[in-house]
Amino acid sequence: SQTIHQWPATLVQPVGSPLSLECTVEGTSNPNLYWYRQAAGRGLQLLFYSVGIGQISSEVPQNLSASRPQDRQFILSSKKLLLSDSGFYLCAWSVLTSNYGYTFGSGTRLTVV
């Protein structure tokens, strides 16, 4: 069966520090991968998506970047965090024929202080 792992679950980082969030998927090949953010009082905002290794599309200009070094690994990074980067970050995957949309990871609560 397919599973998605996302870590860490919570993270508190000072302003200006780097960030690396990792997401891995098991039990499927060549998935589409996504990073979403849920900011306080707001919906789910798509940040990045990837349809293959090394292929990254950015949805909104921001202080973050994403990489996909392996087929089932998706990484969200920042060189210098801002206060506005605080939020709940979600990784998700999907396959072309799925009628269930995305499967989400359990999320990472990032607080920038």
Binding site: A9, Y36, L44, L46, S98, G101, F104, G107
Partner: protein, 115 residues
């Protein structure tokens, strides 16, 4: 530009009654709609979906209705149970070139089912 809108940020319903969550969209290219349920500190989980070729889809206590002319869909939960208390997200997608496309989410509605 919010293409998927959930205008009610919160809803309170008594246990046993019907919960109706609404969602409006603006992009006429959307052809697939989904509802997700999210508990605090967890990722959203898929609840129910509907294709644009249908106007109703039912799964147990959950029914989704789609009104394409009004660009409106709704989720009905009957009867509502305390465990249904969560944030519900409406999502929509438009297939591009036959491939799965990005999901656009609404801002969510927090449902509270009271005893």
């Amino acid at each position: 530009d919010q293409q998927v809108k959930q205008n009610s940020p919160s809803l309170s319903v008594q246990e046993g009654r019907i919960s109706i969550l609404n969602c409006d969209y603006t992009n006429s290219m959307f052809d697939y709609f989904l509802w997700y349920k999210k508990y605090p500190a967890e990722g959203p989980t898929f609840l129910i979906s509907i294709s644009s070729i249908k106007d109703k889809n039912e799964d147990g206590r959950f029914t989704v209705f789609l009104n394409k002319s009004a660009k409106h869909l709704s989720l009905h939960i009957v009867p509502s149970q305390p465990g249904d208390s969560a944030v519900y997200f409406c999502a929509a997608s438009a297939r591009e070139g036959g491939t799965a496309s990005k999901l656009t989410f609404g801002t969510g509605t927090r449902l509270q089912v009271t005893l």
